[in-house]
């Protein structure tokens, strides 16, 4: 509909305006943007809905956690501690719906409050990985040449170590493990993945017709990279980020299990709680089951959402 001949407007569009519009038209030949199209298909996909509901509930609980949880995560209650012995941990009783944890604290409140910490670990680990990965991938994909070669060599080395081993070696090299070191270790593992993914997509964009068109119209290199290549190359990265949210939470739990988690006993985080509960599996398996179920559900939710996104963004599935 929009033609380059828009000269009847009060302020005639500049040459650049017209070129931009022209290039945008070329990029979106179908008339409806890929994003809008993908969202349409996402809404009709039951897998996406289940994933979104799980993730939505998780986020909701973590936002409302301080109001839902009747107690805080660190206080030990005398009425729970009275019956607390190495071979028996008190179960549900009035005021404490899930009973006590191994230290006489309210297990229910800890479960609720832990959703925040777990979300924090997942989101921060993914965001840090995403930011650095996108930076490296975009640089490599935009410049090519020796920049690309150097960056990808380093990325390949990091990719050639199994991710959990890499996370372990990073986390194990700190004198005092804390939540921050867990987040950093888990985040660094995903940096090369994001970088490779974005670089590949950027390279594909570089060869594409719409970028060729923009280049031949004389659009600045910076604008081509930022406006034409990067947004179009972000699809696979967004899918990967959703999946990484799940693996980050699982990897953090694994690090806690290996003794590389936060050493603070007051910290309530599902992975940490699950790891610490292993010692009490004979005494009170519920201490492990609830965090485990929470982790499995949340990981499942992000995975379902990620898979549905991948399907929705796949151009093969259009029409």
């Amino acid at each position: 509909m929009t033609s380059p001949r828009g000269s009847l407007r009060p302020r005639p569009p500049t040459l650049l305006d017209r070129r931009r519009r022209r290039v945008d038209e070329l990029a979106e030949a179908s008339g409806r943007s890929l994003t809008a199209d993908a969202f349409q298909r996402l809404r009709r996909n039951p897998v996406a809905i289940v994933g979104a509901v799980i993730v939505g509930l998780f986020v909701l609980v973590s936002i409302l956690a301080p109001w839902i949880a009747p107690h805080d995560a660190a206080t030990a209650f005398p009425e729970l501690q009275r019956t607390l012995r190495p071979d028996s941990i008190p179960g549900a009783q009035p005021g404490f719906p899930l009973g006590s944890d191994q230290n006489g604290r309210d297990f229910f409140s800890r479960m609720i409050l832990a959703s925040r910490q777990t979300l924090l670990v997942g989101v921060f680990a993914t965001l840090i990985g995403l930011v650095f990965g996108v930076l490296i991938g975009a640089l490599a994909g935009a410049f090519g040449g020796w920049v690309d070669t150097v960056l990808m060599r380093v990325t390949d080395v990091l990719l050639s170590i199994p991710s959990l081993l890499l996370a372990i070696s990073i986390a194990a090299l700190t004198a005092k493990p804390s939540q921050t070191t867990v987040i950093i270790a888990v985040a660094l593992v995903s940096v090369p993945v994001f970088a490779r993914l974005l670089r590949g997509a950027m390279l594909a964009q570089r060869e594409s017709d719409h970028v060729l068109a923009a280049t031949s119209l004389g659009v600045k290199r910076r604008a081509i990279v930022l406006r034409h290549m990067l947004p179009n190359a972000m699809g696979p990265v967004i899918v990967q980020a959703t999946l990484t949210l799940a693996t980050s939470i699982l990897d953090a739990a694994a690090l806690s299990f290996l003794g590389l988690g936060d050493g603070d006993p007051a910290r309530a985080e599902w992975g940490l709680m699950l790891a610490n509960a292993q010692a009490y599996l004979d005494v009170r398996p519920a201490l492990a089951f609830w965090p485990a179920i929470a982790i499995i559900l949340v990981a499942l939710g992000f995975t379902l959402l990620g898979e549905a996104l991948r399907e929705a963004l796949d151009p093969k599935g259009r029409r």
Partner: protein
């Protein structure tokens, strides 16, 4: 072909060099260095200085790195800080246990995964398919160590069907030839020892196999579906070939290509999974060595095991690329 292999092998060298450099640099960039991390709360300046001299850390960093490399090339990764033994000896002793566990897990994952994925694809959209897909999604979402504990608690402690931990029962006096417990029993005709080792393998192998199994099922399913929709399968069907022949010769053979890549990738990842599984089942392999090294901050051992893990991963991927070139005539080896 040979030139391709040699070139790929040469490419492995810079990867390992860069990796060792990264590990090395990271180790030295810690505040106070490894000595401070090693001593933890007990660190005093004098103790750190003392330990640095013992570990050779008072030398300039480039000198340290060259020294480390020089020794690493000859297979000397230093002595474990826990046992005082050469790390290489420790690894050599623990290796068979991990390889045995990995083979068992891999067999389980491949032998179950490919048929399951194939059947799911054939009955696409039916309850069997849906159940399989959901199961694979859940399988990936379960923390491995928790699954290990569940299996152990239920099948070993509650039901008593399998032993809860270790590689062999205490009472069994097995002769060790190769270090592979099942194989040793067969070689020395101590079949009870073989059986005992096999029974010990079951639960850890299931725990370790879960993730590769789930991934193999999903890739097989997707790949079979992909091939079933292709033109040459339609041609084969329309020219009246028996459905069985189309399934076996056209669909399955072509669908297994991406699966072989996945199997390779998952094999390389087994060592990482073994760290968690071996800790749960007190297995005594590389994973146990690594877990101990982490707990006690045993850097020489940690460095060696991680480098070995990366080496295995890189080599397995090389083998996958090679097998690809053999299976698929379309892949040209340059």
């Amino acid at each position: 072909m040979l030139r391709f292999i040699v070139r790929r092998l040469i490419q492995v060298v810079p990867t390992l060099l860069l990796l060792s450099l990264l590990l090395f640099a990271w180790l030295r960039s810690l505040p106070g260095g490894p000595a401070a991390a090693l001593l933890g709360d007990k660190a005093t300046p004098e103790k750190i200085a003392q330990l640095n001299t013992v570990l050779g850390l008072d030398q300039p960093v480039p000198v340290q790195y060259v020294r480390f490399l020089g020794r690493a090339v000859t297979g000397d990764f230093g002595n474990s800080l826990i046992t005082g033994e050469p790390v290489t000896t420790e690894i050599a002793r623990a290796l068979p246990a991990t390889i045995e566990l990995s083979i068992a897990a891999l067999l389980l994952a491949v032998l179950l995964g490919i048929p399951l994925g194939y059947v799911a694809a054939r009955y696409r959209g039916r309850p069997l398919d849906t159940t399989t897909v959901i199961a694979t999604l859940v399988g990936v979402a379960v923390p491995v160590f928790f699954l290990g504990y569940l299996l152990k608690q239920f099948f070993a402690v509650d039901l008593g069907w399998f032993p809860p931990s270790g590689r062999q029962a205490v009472g069994i006096d097995a002769t060790h030839v190769t270090g592979f417990a099942v194989l040793d029993g067969l070689l020395t005709r101590e079949f009870d020892a073989s059986w005992d080792a096999l029974v010990h393998l079951v639960l850890p192998a299931i725990a370790l196999a879960t993730i590769p199994l789930a991934v193999i099922v999903r890739i097989t399913r997707a790949s079979v579906l992909d091939v079933m929709g292709s033109d040459f399968v339609r041609t084969a069907n329309s020219k009246g070939l028996a459905p069985r022949i189309v399934r076996e010769r056209h669909v399955l053979r072509n669908a297994l290509l991406p699966v072989s890549t996945t199997i390779g990738l998952q094999t390389g990842l087994l060592l990482a999974g073994a760290v968690l599984t071996e800790k749960v089942f007190v297995w005594g392999g590389l994973g146990t060595l690594l877990a101990q090294a982490i707990e006690r901050r045993d850097y020489p051992r940690l460095q060696a095991v991680v480098l070995l893990g990366a080496l295995v991963y890189v080599i397995v991927n090389l083998l996958v690329d090679l097998s690809y070139a053999i299976i698929d005539p379309r892949v040209r080896v340059r």
